[in-house]
Structure formats: C-alpha cells, structure tokens
C-alpha cells in the first residue's frame, strides 16, 4: 500500500525548472532515500512532499488525499520533519524542544497535558535522549541534537517522518547510530521514512527504496538493490564505483 504518491510534479522558480515531471509512489512502512548530486533538487522535493512549498504543476497525495487539501495542522499530524541543523540564539531545554512535537494536537489556548509529557518521555527514551532532558539544546553535540529532533518527530506521532540530510555533519559512528535508530523507529512504529542522503553506503545499507535525481529529473526509483548498481551510480554521479555486496559498501575507484 502506498502512502505518498506524486503525479507528474513540476517545480519552477522564475524561469528555472528545479524539478521536472516526477511521478512515483512511496510504499507505507518503508525507508526511502533520496539521492543525487548537489543542486539536483533533493531538498526541494522533500519540501514539496511535506507541503512547505507547492508544485507549479502536478499533484502530491498523502493517504489518497491531495497535500493542498490538508490544513497546516492536519499536515503536521501526518508528517514530521527533521532538518539538517537548527541554529537558534535562544536556549531551550531538550525537554521543551521535544514537547513542541505535541503542538500539532494542541489549540492556541491548550497547555501541555500529562499525556503530552508521557508521550514526550517515551519518545526521548526510544531515542536515548531522556538523560539529556534538562540540558540546553545549544550545549549538545551534533549527534545528540539530531537525536533530540528525531525524538521530537516521534513525539508528533506521525505516520511519515522526513529528514533532510540528518547525518551530514556527523562522524561515521554517529551517522551509523542515527541510521540504526531510524530503522528501529520504522520497524517498531511501521513509520514511513524519507531521507535525503549524500552517503551512498548509508543509502544502500539502510534503505528499502532509493529515489535518484539528476538535473531535476527522476532517473531511478526502485528497491535499493536495483538502483544502487555500478552503472546507475556512474550515470548519476559521473564516477566509477564498486559495490562490495557483503558489506554493502560503495567505493569510488
């Protein structure tokens, strides 16, 4: 069963076509990596899928309902987003940040209820951030911060989690930890996860599906083993690559 469907979507800024004629369907409960070179339109696609920007042409549907027909609040109850990094001059505690994940379910006048604190605690425990709850967000390392924002996404209890380069600024150990955490979340909650990734090894190891973009066009969308082949990588990134199947590692030659 598909949870996200895109039908012939285009996105244009002034005269520049950023995305051209994209059509695909993301199966529910899967991890899909969006790959491609810089400027290929990965982040733009993610923003379109979560409704932050609107396509110039075409339609995106979530659970068979057009994204444009969702209110901002309804959309935030369906999709949570983790950005590459969050810079703020204002020092919130980790618990305050994660609790914000309950905002899609609250009205202007409602305050945090016991149930919200419970869900917040569960999300933090699941992501290993409970011990950081009283720390200030700006005092955390990059890896800890990403875990906190993933905890916030969990706290929103959405079916879909979208992540824009969540491991871009992390070392290899923390990259693997974050990706393992996402796989664990997907398995436990049957979440649908979309990740913009640069690291093809991580995409191969942790994705079920891969959507590959080049120059704003979708070149491939299929199971990861069908997309991440030597020939496809060469055509996408203009490099020679060798896939070591046992370890799922891709090495540029």
């Amino acid at each position: 069963m598909n949870i996200i469907t895109a039908n012939n979507i285009h996105y244009r800024i002034k005269d520049k076509e950023i995305l051209k004629n994209l059509s695909f369907a993301i199966p529910k409960g899967s991890i899909t990596s969006i790959i491609g070179m810089n400027g290929s339109g990965k982040t733009t696609l993610l923003k379109l899928l979560c409704g932050i920007i609107k396509p110039t042409k075409g339609e995106i549907a979530i659970d068979n309902k057009a994204v444009k027909d969702y209110s901002i609040k309804e959309r935030s109850q369906k999709i949570s987003i983790v950005f590459q990094s969050v810079d703020t001059d204002f020092d919130f505690s980790v618990e305050q940040i994660v609790l914000m994940g309950r905002m899609p379910y609250q009205t202007l006048l409602s305050s945090d209820k016991t149930e919200d604190f419970e869900i917040c605690k569960q999300s933090m425990s699941a992501t290993g951030t409970w011990h950081l709850r009283n720390r200030l967000i700006n005092s955390l390392s990059g890896g800890e911060k990403q875990r906190v924002f993933i905890a916030r996404a969990l706290c929103s209890q959405t079916d879909i989690i979208m992540l824009d380069e969540p491991v871009a600024n992390l070392d290899t150990k923390h990259q693997i930890e974050i990706m393992k955490l996402l796989r664990q979340i997907q398995k436990e909650n049957n979440s649908t996860i979309l990740i913009v990734l640069h690291d093809l090894s991580l995409a191969k190891k942790f994705s079920d599906y891969v959507l590959a973009l080049k120059d704003g066009q979708m070149r491939f969308f299929d199971k990861q083993e069908n997309v991440l082949t030597n020939e496809n990588i060469k055509s996408l990134f203009e490099i020679n690559a060798k896939i070591v199947e046992n370890n799922n590692v891709i090495i540029a030659e």
Binding site: C50, I52, I72, K73, R75, S76, Q77, I79, S80, I81, F83, V86, D87, T88, D89, F90, D91, F92, S93, Q96, I97, M100, G101, M103, P104, Q106, L108, L109, S111, D112, F117, S156
Partner: protein, 324 residues
C-alpha cells in the same frame, strides 16, 4: 511548564509585592515633600504622582512584552521597538498628529503613531529580509537607518513648526510628566488586550524561535502568526509612545535578563517580563525625579543610560555570530 507553575505563582506574588513597594516609593518621594497632605500635596498625589506611577507600570510592562514579541518574530535577541526604530516611528506619527492639530481628538495621537510605527516595521522587514531570513546585521542596520531618517524628519518638523516644538521635543526624549488618568485608561486598555494576545501566542512564538520551517512543520501558520503578533505589538508600542514619548531599551534589557533567569520559554518570559518591565520603569522614574533635586531628568535618558551599555555588552558577546 507544569512543574514550574506553583513555583512561578510564588515568584509572581513576590514580584507583585516588590512592584507595589516601588510604586509606593514613586508616589511618596519626589521634588516636593507631600507628607503634610495639604490641599496642594493632595493635588500632587492624586493628579500627578498616582497617574504617573500607574503609567510607569503599564508602559514598562507593555514595552517589555513588546520586546519579547519582536525578539520572537525577528528570531533575534537584539530586537526591541526602540532599536528597530518602531518607537521613533510612533513618535513621528505623534509629531505629525500635533502639527496637523489632531492631538485634541480621541486617539488623535495614538492612531497616527500606530500607522507610522507599522509602516516603519514594514520597511525594516523589507530592508532586512534576505531570502526567507532576516539577518542580525541587516536588521540592526535597517533599524539604525530608520532611526536616523525619522530623527531627521522630526527635526525638520520641529524647525518648521516652532510653536509646537516643545510638545514634539517631549516625544523625542520620553517623559511621564503631565500624564492624565485618561491616558492611563487608554494605554491600559490597549496594553491589557495586547499583552493577553501575545501571551496566548507564547507557545507559537517558541516554535518561531527555531525557524520558520520548523514552526510550519509543527502546524503553525507562520506568516499569519508573525503578522498578527507584529501588528498587536506595534499597536501596543504606539499606545505607550503616544502618551510617554520614546522610552528606549526597556524591551531589550528586561526580556534578556528574564531569559537568563527563567530560560527561553515565552510562556514564562512574558509574565516575568510584565513585572520586570514595571520594576525597571519605576526605578528609572524614581531616579529621574530624585537624582537632581531642582529639576527632572527625562526618563528616556535614564533607561538609555542603562540600556545602551547593556546593548553594547550584548553586541560584544554576539560579535562572532555577527562577523564584525
């Protein structure tokens, strides 16, 4: 938040006591000793000092909450109605109302103040926006530029209309002398509604501080929230400035100190800033009236004497981020 509620209620009670004590000092002490309670003393007490102290409390609280709101909307801890030129815009509106003879009408000064202050905010937003972000450097430069421009226009108005020069001069320096009960009531109505509105939006303002896309992903209509809060805060600033003139830095100093004490959550910063703003203004007013026995210093100069070094200190701390 819940765990803080009981504790905060105790702090609010304590702060209310401190505000009351400062208000008593403000009423009791001044250039004239009113302890003998003659008819003249009673007149000074009821017609001058009590409305003045009440205005102090309302103006201080309002400007402090406006500072919180501006800082959240602009995502910048250095934003405040004075630094961004909004207060100057309001004073220009007031000056224009005076030379056009509108000051005798109900809200005849408040509404033009609001209109010009809102226009100032709009210009600053347009000038400082780079893509979807408003950078600190451009925001401050836009504020400074608007302050220069508005000061120049006010100077020209004062030069042209010498008859009303003293009235206009009052708006540029900030003063609580001559405050009437009608001013207190008008400002209180605007401030009460405005502060309640901003406080209701406090949680959304928290999300805004993490960025527009973060806030959108949490189900917030960012543009609508920003516009509503900015319009209400500007209206509150204009309501205060149209009665007291430009009183600077309250919106910068108070929320900043409160934030250091209670953290970044606007649901706590706003109520604490209400008390903090009132205390800051009452202290400034007591100093303004008692430092020099023969005359009264403009309250705006006292708040600036405290606020400007504080602003320099904040800039010094932020210089790495500002790439100075």
């Amino acid at each position: 938040m819940t765990k803080h509620k009981t504790k905060d209620f105790l702090y609010y009670t304590l702060l209310a006591v401190v505000v009351s004590l400062l208000a008593f000092v403000g009423i009791r002490f001044g250039s004239v000793d009113i302890s003998s309670m003659t008819d003249a003393d009673k007149y000074i007490l009821y017609s001058i000092r009590i409305p003045r102290v009440l205005m102090c409390i309302i103006a201080g609280s309002t400007l402090a909450v406006c500072g919180c709101a501006y800082q959240a909307v602009f995502k910048n801890p250095l934003s405040d109605p004075y630094i961004l030129g909004v207060s100057s815009g309001a004073s220009l509106g007031a000056s224009l109302a005076i030379i056009l003879g509108l000051d005798s009408l109900l809200l005849g000064v408040t509404l033009p103040s609001f209109a010009v202050a809102l226009l100032t905010v709009f210009v600053i937003m347009k000038l400082s926006q780079v893509g979807s972000r408003m950078h600190t450097t451009t925001l401050l430069l836009a504020g400074i530029s608007m302050n220069f421009l508005i000061s120049a226009i006010v100077s020209v108005i004062m030069f042209i209309d010498k008859e009303d020069m003293h009235k206009i001069y009052f708006w540029t320096m900030g003063s609580l002398s001559g405050v009437r009960y009608s001013d207190v009531v008008t400002t209180f109505v605007f401030s009460f509604i405005g502060i309640a509105f901003v406080w209701i939006y406090a949680k959304r303002l928290n999300a805004l501080l993490l960025g527009d896309m973060q806030a959108t992903s949490l189900g917030i209509d960012v543009e609508k929230t920003k516009k509503s809060v900015l319009i209400v805060s500007t209206l509150m600033t204009a309501a205060v400035v149209s009665c007291t003139g430009v009183i600077g830095f309250v919106g910068l100093v108070v929320p900043h100190i409160v934030r250091l004490l209670v953290g970044a959550d606007n649901r706590r910063i706003i109520p604490f800033s209400i008390f903090g703003g009132a205390m800051f203004m009452l202290c400034a007013d007591i100093l303004a009236r008692n430092v020099i026995t023969s005359s009264e210093l403009p309250i705006g100069s006292i708040t600036s004497l405290v606020g400007a070094p504080f602003f320099i200190y904040l800039l010094y701390n932020a210089k790495k981020k500002l790439h100075f």
